[in-house]
């Protein structure tokens, strides 16, 4: 038996709006959006970042706490490694991401900032870990 990390799926109220937001605010690009508009994957290499409509949770028989901007963020984050985190932060905020913490340099040399996306999910914008 082998196992590998396949993908992360965020359940969101509007898949198409979320994909557009991740393109505009974070500069990712879409891999595909299913014709039902209930599932989409971003172009993030072998481990996909995916979005599914909240209604899919119910259809699949499980229950989730919906992600909402006005709610406390869920206990997870999406970390995006950027070539220029300060610039990425400004771009995200001007596209409508909620500012949480502007990028700052950590003792280990990495630059790290946080915003919340259109659905209230926590997104880290950081530089690559120094070699």
């Amino acid at each position: 038996m082998s196992v590998r990390f396949g993908y992360t799926i965020l359940y969101v109220p509007d898949v198409v709006a979320t994909v557009s937001f991740y393109e505009t605010a974070f500069g990712l690009s879409r891999r595909f959006v299913h014709e039902s508009n209930l599932y989409a994957e971003m172009e993030t290499g072998p481990t996909a970042l995916a979005f599914a409509g909240e209604t899919m949770a119910e259809m699949n028989g499980f229950a989730v706490r919906a992600n909402r901007k006005a709610d406390l963020a869920g206990g997870f984050e999406i970390a995006l490694v950027c070539s220029a985190p300060h610039e990425a932060y400004e771009k995200a905020v001007s596209a409508g991401a909620a500012p949480v913490k502007p990028p700052e340099e950590k003792p280990w040399g990495q630059v790290v900032g946080y915003v919340r996306d259109l659905n209230g999910c926590l997104v880290e914008l950081c530089s690559a870990m120094p070699a």
Partner: protein, 258 residues
């Protein structure tokens, strides 16, 4: 078209026009059919299945219910219906769903209220034709309606659905930056029932699926569905379905999802 007791016709559903499901049901024998509360309103055509063309069609518009009820059936009693998404009852029929709470407008009463229902009752060659007519009826009224379904209403109801009815109303209000009073108004306007009653319906449906489709034990189902304990779940099943979780009867569980 051969139909069992209750069949959904997924290719006819049209979420954009407010149609959550199109369904048909035919009674093979005499007896009663138990309708479980689903927090939805339906537009239904009832007829007797004999040699086509089907005639003596009767329109029925049902309001939201919070408990089960039984419908008496004779052999050949048949129904074709559309189930409307929350928020669309008023958009399509111009009436707040709360006005029909735990009730229905049947036959002449429905035709008096909505005269264009009469055209749906002309003889038809089969149920497919009736289903098509119902869909066209809803689509036309959707296109002509100037009553908008508020996005906030959609989002709030969607979050409660996604949680399997487990969010407390205070939490639901907080996470959308609303007061509890506003959430209550949203649910009453969109569904005709209070948010608490709507949550209970979703939780009941989910628990029923966990037992019937996921084959969980009653203890595991009660835990996952968010009941305080198994006896709490049992009380809710008695009240909403009239049966015990330990002995599930053959009931129809309709598709409700936002």
């Amino acid at each position: 078209m051969t139909l069992g007791r209750y069949t959904e016709l997924p290719h006819l559903a049209d979420a954009n026009a407010g149609i959550e499901a199109v369904w048909a049901s035919v009674s093979r024998g005499e007896g009663t059919y138990r309708v479980l509360p689903d927090g939805r309103c339906d537009i239904i055509l009832r007829f007797t299945l004999n040699a086509p063309p089907n005639s003596e069609l009767m329109p029925i518009v049902t309001g939201p219910t919070t408990g089960f009820y039984d419908v008496a059936l004779e052999p050949g009693s048949a129904f074709v219906g559309v189930r409307l998404r929350p928020g669309y009852f008023q958009r399509i029929l111009g009436l707040e769903p709360i006005r029909l709470k735990s009730g229905a407008l049947v036959g002449e009463a429905a035709k008096n209220k909505w005269p264009d229902l009469a055209a749906l009752c002309a003889p038809a060659s089969d149920q497919q034709e009736l289903a098509g007519r119902l869909v066209q009826f809803v689509r036309k009224r959707d296109a002509d309606s100037d009553f908008e379904v508020e996005p906030l209403s959609r989002n709030t109801i969607s979050a409660l659905h996604a949680s399997g009815g487990r969010l407390r109303i205070a939490e639901l209000a907080d996470m959308h930056g609303l007061s509890e009073r506003t959430v209550r108004r949203i649910f009453l306007r969109a569904t005709g029932v209070s948010p608490k009653a709507f949550a209970a319906i979703i939780q009941f449906h989910r628990a029923l699926r966990l037992l019937r489709d996921h084959h969980l034990s009653p203890a595991d189902a009660a835990f996952e569905a968010g009941f305080a304990d198994q006896s709490h779940m049992t009380r809710v099943f008695q009240r909403m379905g009239g049966f015990s979780p330990a002995r599930l009867p053959e009931v129809t569980l309709v598709t409700i999802s936002q």
